[in-house]
């Protein structure tokens, strides 16, 4: 019924969202309000810090998700890009008294330029070669950072002074000096970045990316400037990761090059694949896996190595059986479990065989 109505007047249907859409939007708003105002009240400082990291890495994950899930470009160097963003933001924060949002924007834009400089030559490569060259570049950036170091309030272009005794912390915005306030601040920035990604996916670039992911020659034949849209995706991902780096700089106060090892880029790709690259929720799941679970295990006294092993198993599982990741798999599994329970309650034992057959028909 609803479907036929929509077919008659697509324009009106677009203006008036359907009920499930409204429900979903309502749930998201309630969830965000809870995260912004409820969560900081409930959590200890330890977990508030952790959740700030989750907000930061959800931005990194959503950027990587755009590359991997939407366009089909695998980058193994995203943590190096995050380090560039953090470096630029820290340098600007020490050098200027500009307001924080402006600094974040600048960090994003400068990181974007750096990403474009890398992307321009690298995008001539494809598939495996592109992934490996990003890994190589990440390795090179890590080596440079280890020598250059993060700014610590020193002078000169690099802003590093190795003999500084009292290192000033990287400042935070005046409205978000405390940890709970900074958590809210980073969530708001993350929401803006997610909205930016959503705006891209729903419009022309998103459709071009989808075409490129399906088949690049076909996209080319359809008149899509594949080179331009791939570069655009690269630029967008670098921008968001750069902004995330800026938020990270304020969150931790002190930055060290040892905090951005090349292998983190590899782990990050693993969790992003596990979370799910085809939905924005996947980025949130990935960030929770990457930052929240280690804190939780640390609190319980369990070694974080188990988590690394879990991530390894997760990657293999995602690639062999569940390409859309946890964000897709868990709701499906829960729905299936729910249906199974409902059936079991309605008709006990005798019709179990029938239920099994129906389930088999709906399989993935």
């Amino acid at each position: 019924m609803r479907a036929t109505l929509e077919r008659v007047s697509p324009a009106r249907a677009r203006r008036a969202p359907s009920r499930p859409q409204l429900t979903r939007a309502g749930v998201i708003v309630v969830l965000l309000l809870f995260v912004l105002f409820g969560l900081p009240q409930l959590l200890s400082l330890y977990y508030i810090d952790t959740m700030t990291q989750v907000a930061v890495y959800s931005m990194v994950a959503v950027a990587l998700g755009v590359l991997v899930g939407r366009v089909g470009l695998v980058s193994l160097g995203q943590v190096a890009v995050l380090a560039i963003g953090a470096w630029v933001a820290a340098r600007l924060l020490f050098a200027t008294t500009q307001p924080y949002p402006l600094i974040l924007l600048e960090a994003g834009l400068i990181t974007m330029v750096a990403g474009l400089l890398i992307g321009l030559p690298a995008l001539r490569l494809r598939g495996l070669y592109l992934a490996l060259i990003t890994l190589m570049l990440a390795g090179a950036i890590t080596v440079v950072l280890a020598t250059v170091n993060f700014p610590n309030g020193g002078h000169g272009f690099l802003g590093y002074n190795g003999s500084l005794v009292h290192i000033p912390p990287i400042r935070r915005p005046s409205i978000a000096a405390s940890d709970p306030a900074y958590f809210r601040y980073s969530v708001v920035v993350a929401i803006l970045m997610f909205a930016l990604v959503l705006a891209h996916i729903k419009t022309k670039p998103g459709r071009a990316w989808a075409a490129i992911r399906q088949s690049e020659p076909a996209a080319l034949a359809a008149g899509i400037n594949t080179w331009f849209y791939k570069l655009w995706a690269f630029a967008l991902a670098s921008f968001i990761t750069g902004v995330a780096g800026g938020v990270l700089a304020g969150a931790v106060h002190y930055l060290y090059s040892i905090g951005f090892p090349t292998q983190d880029s590899i782990t990050l790709l693993a969790v992003v694949l596990m979370g799910g690259v085809y939905s924005l929720w996947g980025a949130v799941v990935a960030a929770l896996l990457y930052q929240f679970l280690p804190s939780l295990l640390n609190n319980w006294g369990v070694s974080a190595d188990w988590l690394i092993i879990l991530f390894g198993v997760g990657v293999l599982q995602v690639l062999t059986t569940a390409p859309a990741g946890l964000a897709d798999q868990v709701p499906k599994d829960l729905a299936r479990l729910g249906r199974l329970l409902v059936r079991l309650v309605r008709h006990p034992a005798p019709s179990a065989a029938g239920a099994g057959a129906a389930d088999g028909g709906e399989g993935p």
Partner: protein, 297 residues
């Protein structure tokens, strides 16, 4: 600028390092050509093998059994992974296959960190008896381990090249590199040939791990991610030519160590493989901008 005298020892160590990179590179290329899998877990497998060898030696097991255990572990783990995940991913893009080996890398890396904790602070080291004996070339001390490393690189490159060219199994592997389906139609036992490639590559991983543990450091993180350096050589060879892999590996190893005495560049010497790979790839890619392989289509 340092004098020629200062560079001499680094030529020797650079050649040795290049030899092991070549060894790893050959292992990676052979597997890639036969199965389409770029094994990013190569370093992790070697590292775990080396750590097992270390533990065995600590427990009083004779050295040569421990070294064999290291090589056998490399072969067994790689073969096991290949048998379980090889067929499941056989029809997927090379990129997916490579990312899947990241899963194995993380599992092994987590296990190593769990079983051989580094928090104790005691540095482990694996020494081969060939470390202490050597000879002098001019004024430079050369250990037999360094000779073995370079020789292993040379011998294995030549032997693998000959194997691929002249033996039946090698021909089958080359055929599969071209087209897996057609090769299967021609009656080649595809699974068995792939298993052989996995096993051979795994043995090379164990060997490389053992040599690198001695030449560089016995440390899970270092050894696991040292594979990135040998990847540089493999990339320049476009994952195909064993000869180019060998030459590139030697160049990477030599340049890396020769930068050590130059004070202004010594901090940047670890960038060598990445920079060489990046330049090499970008120059090579100019000639085939839209070339698309069958697997990617």
């Amino acid at each position: 600028m340092p004098s020629w005298q200062d560079f001499q020892p680094f030529i020797v160590s650079g050649l040795a390092l290049g030899g092991v990179y070549a060894l790893s590179g050959v292992g990676l290329v052979v597997l890639y050509r036969a199965t389409g899998v770029l094994n990013l877990a190569f370093g992790a497998i070697g590292a775990m093998g080396a750590l097992i060898a270390w533990s065995l030696i600590q427990a009083g097991v004779p050295g040569w059994i421990s070294w064999l255990a290291c090589v056998a572990f490399g072969g067994a783990v790689t073969l096991g992974y290949g048998i379980i995940f090889g067929p499941a991913l056989a029809k997927r893009d090379p990129l997916v296959k490579a990312v899947a080996t990241i899963g194995l890398t993380l599992i092994l890396y987590g296990l190593m960190d769990l079983l051989w904790t580094t928090s104790g602070g005691q540095a482990r080291s694996l020494t081969l008896p060939t470390d202490n004996s050597g000879f002098m070339v001019g004024q430079v001390q050369v250990t037999w381990t360094q000779v073995i490393a370079l020789a292993a690189g040379v011998v294995l490159t030549v032997a693998t090249g000959a194997f691929l060219r002249f033996t039946k199994l090698g021909t089958a592997m080359r055929a599969m590199a071209n087209d897996r389906e057609i090769t299967a139609t021609l009656g080649v036992p595809v699974r068995r040939v792939e298993a052989a490639a996995w096993l051979g590559s795994g043995v090379l991983a164990g060997l490389a791990g053992l040599l690198l543990a001695d030449l560089v450091a016995l440390d899970a993180t270092t050894l696991t991610f040292l594979v990135i350096s040998s990847l540089a050589a493999v990339l320049i060879a476009r994952l195909r030519s064993i000869t180019v892999t060998f030459v590139a590996a030697i160049v990477v190893g030599l340049l890396h160590d020769l930068l050590t005495p130059i004070t202004s560049l010594t901090n940047y010497r670890d960038m060598t493989p990445f920079v060489i790979a990046a330049i090499g790839l970008l120059v090579l890619s100019r000639h085939q901008v839209m070339a698309q392989s069958r697997e990617e289509a």
